[in-house]
Amino acid sequence: MIHPIPPGTRDVLPDEMRELRAITEGLRSVFEDAGYGEVATPALEYEEVLRTGDADAAGAGYRTFDERGQVMALRSDMTIPIARLVATRFRRTDGEPLRLSYLGNAYRAVKLGTGHQRELLQAGIELIGVAGPDRDAEVIALALAALDEVGLARHRVGLGDGALYRTLMAAFEVPDDRREELLACLARRDLVTLEALVRDLGLKTEAYEALVSYPELRGGPEILDRADGPAAGALDGLRALHAALHDRGVADRVILDLGLVRELNYYTGAVWEVYDPAVGFVLGGGGRYDDLIGRFGAPRPACGVALDVQRVHIAQAEEEKLQ
């Protein structure tokens, strides 16, 4: 007899669970030792509350009604629930910075036959109430250290700016109604369509060159000098962040990537993703979201990172094979 479970979900048996536990305990201990206290929030939230954080409810895929007919949704990430938690449970905005960590399931809609996960276990941190490159660097360096702790060795962080391309488009006066289309191409790195769309705009050579070439600029800090132009503010921000990462001794594990955009649109500054050569998918990511908590009424800057525990496990298993 077959009693199926939904595609994209999974049962975990003891051998795997022991290994997963070792990873989550390892990540948790690094976060705890760095002063990031663990919090938990409900997997179900009122949809309206999630929409306060992001118009798209961060892409929540599952909705249901409660006994009074209110729409509830399964969270698709942890950052919006934590923004809600911070704004309601830590109302004072003038206090010490908050350092929070979490380990919880998030739920996403999947396309069948793609191997995407419907339920995924995320471990992450949020640093709330402080801004500045050194604070971004703290979060990135801690994510790298947590992955060291669980046995990864070759992981890297990709670093970009979530607002950079919008700034470029505004500076080059790309018509408002074309901007989302270009961003959508950039998000999925369809560079062929992007180039065709930019060419159609009939901009000056300088604008064309910048809009087409930025998404291809990846590497060390030298790419920032090659970029320049109207996005100087964002580029200076990345320069400062790179210097802060250098001070923490992790700059050699960071790849600057001017085409990097994260799917979620609550990011306001630097964004990052975590990679490991053993896994073809992104291990995790995050960024700075200075406006999000304010949408819940208690404004303060924040940044964070989330790691996909199952993918970290795959990378760890590959790393063991190499040793």
Binding site: L191, V192, D257, D276, A278, V279
Partner: protein, 213 residues
């Protein structure tokens, strides 16, 4: 992403194979073994894996190949595959078309009298989107083999398929009614490899750009 520092390239068998191997030859990659051995699939020495074009996005998305070559038709039909589309390689040009019997207008008649057309295709997503975008109701019938057979036997009113010369269509008394999109070979990359092997990928992309007409 593949473990070695070298790039692993997913090369499509079938109509795009010749053009793809010519391109790789032009870059100084030795493809003689691929040309001479039609059963072998994995050529580790030169970092080539061969597969059917529709599997290329799968291998590249999962990082089993760092980069790959496939048709735009495949990418349009599999939008859920998260691969980066880096270059239009120009070769393998063909049209995605709506075709029907040349003598009468089965599409118009079906629409007028029955309110919908029946369309056979190997590209259900592209076909459904095209009819939806043009405001016509369509019933999409997925087939695996020769699509031209479907309207001849009365299974459907018309087809959506890829055609290079229109010869097969003509031989089966079919004629092109609408052109949906032009498809060419594309270079795609795994998102993680695009960062971690940025130098190798940029070098290859630069050399291909230089080699393109």
């Amino acid at each position: 992403m593949t473990a070695s520092d070298l790039l692993t390239i997913a090369v499509p068998r079938g109509a795009l194979l010749g053009g793809s191997l010519d391109l790789l030859d032009g870059l100084g990659i030795d493809t003689s073994e691929v040309r001479s051995n039609h059963r072998k699939l994995l050529f580790e020495d030169v970092g080539i894996v061969t597969m059917r074009p529709s599997d290329v996005p799968t291998y590249v998305e999962h990082g089993a190949a760092d980069i790959g070559i496939t048709g735009k038709d495949v990418l349009l039909e599999q939008p859920e595959r998260a691969v980066y589309e880096l270059l239009d390689l120009g070769y393998g040009r063909c049209e995605m078309v709506v075709a029907a019997h040349r003598d009468h207008d089965p599409l118009g008649e079906a629409l007028r009298r029955l309110g919908r057309v029946r369309i056979a295709t190997k590209y259900p997503l592209i076909a459904a989107r095209h009819f939806s975008e043009t405001g016509r109701q369509a019933e999409i019938v997925g087939v695996k083999g020769s699509v031209e057979l479907a309207p001849l036997t009365g299974l459907v009113d018309g087809i959506v398929d890829l055609t290079a010369t229109g010869k097969t269509l003509a031989e089966n008394d079919l004629t092109v009614l609408e052109e949906i999109v032009t498809c060419t070979a594309r270079l795609v990359a795994n998102p993680v490899a695009h960062k971690l092997k940025a130098a190798q990928i940029d070098d290859l992309v630069g050399r291909i750009r230089g080699a393109l007409p």
